[in-house]
């Protein structure tokens, strides 16, 4: 299927492969590979990694936060803040402690966002990258606090913020305090903005709920990855509420851009260069090359 077609395919078809990590043998028995949900070809893992988890047809597979940091930051420039901070079970919510422990073990990260300072093509910035494999990037108090601190530190340092979002919304196990993180992070974004500093968001698949309704949509410039699901309510909830069939491509990045809520769709192949250029344009840097 040509690239353009998959952009307009309904969500459910696209989503099938995104979460799969099963390795199925390709034509070459020795080469591990996985199926592309868009073109249906078996993509050798080596080729996938070489192309930042994208298929040659243009499909963007999900990427974990460390992979993203390695991919977007200059080598050895990333220094992490608040690493290893773990959430507590503030509400005494049934099963939350176990869920957190299991997630930490399975995912290898301590929480659903990684924050720090880095250089992108030599441009100094603060960066936060949300982790899709940690409880679907849900926002609890630790995520809210780490992102808030990233903006506060960026203000102290006079630096721009680059934020990668991926989230299923609020962390319901932290109840109302998770909801309050929308206000907290938004306050920090506002202060950073009022100080004349630049904030760039890159919305990745999927970004919904409280993250869409706060810092994801508050960037000076909002970029999105091709095919990313971007919305407030999830498509299944909308279908159930309205009992209507969703239009083709509904809530996909391309659809959201068409409706005026995303500045540009930038594939991973040009993402680093685009971000670096935007950073340069906002920090008084001269054109390079």
């Amino acid at each position: 299927m040509p690239f353009i077609e998959f952009l307009f395919k309904p969500k459910n078809e696209l989503e099938k492969g995104g979460r799969q990590s099963v390795q199925i043998a390709s034509a070459d028995e020795n080469e591990p590979s996985k199926p592309c949900p868009n073109c249906r070809k078996m993509v050798p893992l080596s080729q996938l990694w070489a192309n930042h988890n994208t298929c040659e047809c243009g499909y963007h597979f999900r990427m974990n936060a460390r992979q993203r940091i390695n991919f977007i930051c200059d080598t050895d420039t990333f220094s992490e803040w608040d690493a290893g901070v773990v959430s507590r079970d503030i509400l005494d919510f049934p099963g939350y402690i176990t869920k957190l422990e299991n997630t930490r073990n399975a995912c290898g990260e301590s929480e659903a966002v990684i924050c720090g300072r880095a250089k992108i093509e030599g441009e100094d910035c603060c960066i936060f990258v949300m982790e899709p494999y940690f409880m679907m990037g849900s926002m609890g108090t630790v995520v809210g606090e780490k992102i808030t601190r990233t903006f506060e530190r960026a203000m102290e340092l006079g630096l721009p913020v680059v934020g990668y979002t991926v989230s299923g919304g609020a962390r319901m196990q932290e109840g109302i305090l998770s909801l309050m993180q929308m206000a907290k992070t938004s306050g920090a974004v506002k202060r950073h903005s009022d100080a004349g500093l630049f904030y760039l968001t890159v919305i990745t698949d999927p970004t919904t709920g409280g993250v869409t309704a706060s810092f994801a949509m508050e960037g000076d410039v909002i970029l999105a990855e091709p095919g990313a699901l971007i919305g407030f309510a999830g498509p299944r909830v909308i279908e159930q509420t309205t009992r209507k069939k969703l239009p083709a491509g509904f809530q996909k990045a391309e659809f959201v851009m068409e409706h005026g809520f995303v500045d540009a769709i930038v594939p991973r192949s040009t993402q680093k260069a685009t971000i670096a250029q935007l950073l340069r344009m906002h920090t008084g840097g001269e054109r390079v090359g």
């Binding site: 601190r149 609020a170 319901m172 109302i176 009022d194 309704a213 309205t242 509904f250 409706h259 005026g260």
Partner: protein
């Protein structure tokens, strides 16, 4: 009620949703005089799920923005059961910015199961509309009080509750997700809503204990003249105090109020 579990929290959820409970316009009619409703977001439409306008509170002009569920079935349909679209939030924001310009205090009355989930709402940027309300309320250079009078459903409620003071009616609820939604996601069983309601800590006393609200408004006289009279006096007193503050300080306090909510142990220094 199902089985043996008696859920106090879920009883409140039911009360908060109950038909016949005073809605936003009841408060406006009983507390505010000479109210003039102002319509539209100046971009797309007038969303009747939000009623806004200007009136007098004890003889002083105030802006009131209320999420309105409707008082009978006809009204409920007209007001979309209190589920705002993006244009509703944009109307609310327009009126709050207008209040800021003329240094009028803002009263928000919040009562919604959530922002509307629909195709048009997404097409017109529900997330962006809510985000903008949150950011702008945070920085609004005029005093604000938000009162959760019934349901405080998720981001759609928070969008109008980033205020200097947030109060809750005794039986109002405030939550990141409905107990039914929580139960069906976590336990694949929406009939466990009672347990979910308990676990979510969504009652007014929970919100007070967590520092999310400043005060609980008792409901013994709910809907009676004396109820509105007390609330009117309380609002007047609060705004007297808030308007006496330097406006930058006011905004700073509001920012800190939300900044300090849910600060986890980050393991030592910043």
């Amino acid at each position: 009620m199902a089985k043996n579990t008696v859920s106090k929290a879920y009883d409140r959820v039911k009360l908060a949703r109950q038909n016949g409970r005073p809605t936003g316009v009841d408060y406006i009619e009983n507390i505010i005089t000479d109210f003039i409703e102002l319509h539209g977001d100046r971009n797309y439409a007038d969303d009747e799920a939000i009623v806004g306008g200007i009136g007098y509170l004890d003889g002083k002009p105030v802006t009131v923005v209320a999420i309105e569920k409707g008082r009978n079935s006809k009204e409920r349909v007209a007001h979309n059961f209190g589920a705002p679209h993006p244009e509703g939030y944009r109307k609310a924001l327009r009126l709050m910015k207008q209040a800021e310009k003329f240094r009028r205090p803002v009263i928000c009355l919040v009562d919604t199961s959530g922002a509307y989930c629909g195709i048009g709402a997404e097409e017109r940027g529900q997330g962006q509309a809510i985000a903008q309300c949150i950011v702008e309320m945070m920085a609004l250079k005029t005093p604000s009080v938000s009162i959760l009078i019934g349901e405080g459903g998720s981001g759609g409620a928070l969008a109008l509750a980033v205020a200097d003071r947030v109060w809750m009616l005794e039986n109002a609820v405030y939550s990141a997700i409905s107990p039914e939604g929580c139960a069906s996601i976590l336990w694949k069983d929406s009939s466990k809503a009672e347990e979910a309601a308990e676990s979510l800590k969504l009652t007014a006393s929970d919100a007070l204990a967590l520092g999310v609200i400043e005060e609980i408004i008792p409901e013994q006289e709910l809907g009676k003249e004396s109820f509105y009279e007390k609330l009117r006096v309380k609002l007047s007193r609060e705004f007297r105090e808030l308007t006496s503050m330097d406006v930058d300080q006011l905004v700073q306090h509001r920012f800190e109020r939300f900044r300090n909510l849910g600060v986890p142990d980050m393991g030592g220094k910043k």
